[in-house]
Subunit: 129 residues, 2 copies
Amino acid sequence: MKIGEVSRITGTNVETVRYYERIGLLPKPSRTGGNYRSYAAQDVDRLKFIRHARGLGFDIADIRSLLDLGEHPERDCCEVDQIATSHLVSVENKLRQLEQLQQELVRMLRQCRGGQVADCRIMLTLAER
Amino acid sequence: MKIGEVSRITGTNVETVRYYERIGLLPKPSRTGGNYRSYAAQDVDRLKFIRHARGLGFDIADIRSLLDLGEHPERDCCEVDQIATSHLVSVENKLRQLEQLQQELVRMLRQCRGGQVADCRIMLTLAER
DNA sequence: CCTTGACCCTGTAGTCGCTACAGACCCCAT
DNA sequence: ATGGGGTCTGTAGCGACTACAGGGTCAAGG
């Protein structure tokens, strides 16, 4: 399977596939006579895993660890749990931050009464503190 | 006022202050005999504005526009409102995305029953789809 | 007077996860 | 033989910083 098809199947940009190979997240595939990358079903599965994990916001380092763990199926799954849990924690932290931010923005916007920039409450709020 | 003091007052990294100057967000300050940057109160205010806006998640381009508007106090404040509103919208979009993500992560983590990586529900979930 | 140490200078490269080229090559259909 | 679509490598760009290296400046203490 050539890179374009892999790209289509997994919904991954061709350049991204090559990028994953470059950083060692995907193994170097075999090549055709014309030096085209030739992927096996296994590679596609690995890429799907990566994309799904990225979709859930895991960073590349985490995904690397998860893939490594996948290659040691006899190990205890608590390491997997740990990675996922700590990711969830950081997502929840970001969520709280964003909520606060949203509330501050709403508060700021509610004060706007129109008029000139000179009297703009939003600009004043930003200038304060 | 030297850059270190400005840094302390505003809680901004020294390198960040220089970065803002480089990208034209802060004006080039005058220099002392020893070629040290010498800031006026005005510059500190501008930097505070920038940091406050960054804290609210506005990107540099937005901040540039807001600062420009601040220099035209006679203009109508609706442009300010527009920038803030569209930022709020994007924050709310990100918020919704993060909430979904969080729920998916929670769902995934609830399935974990311990045991070996081979049977790990989290790994299976990531591999699926 | 000299040294020490804190601060400051410029310029460049690194971060993260891609994305976007340029310029070349391969392959298949017409 | 030609055209166009795919692929190749290598490099640079994004945003918003951050982190040096390798030097200069300045005030206090010995």
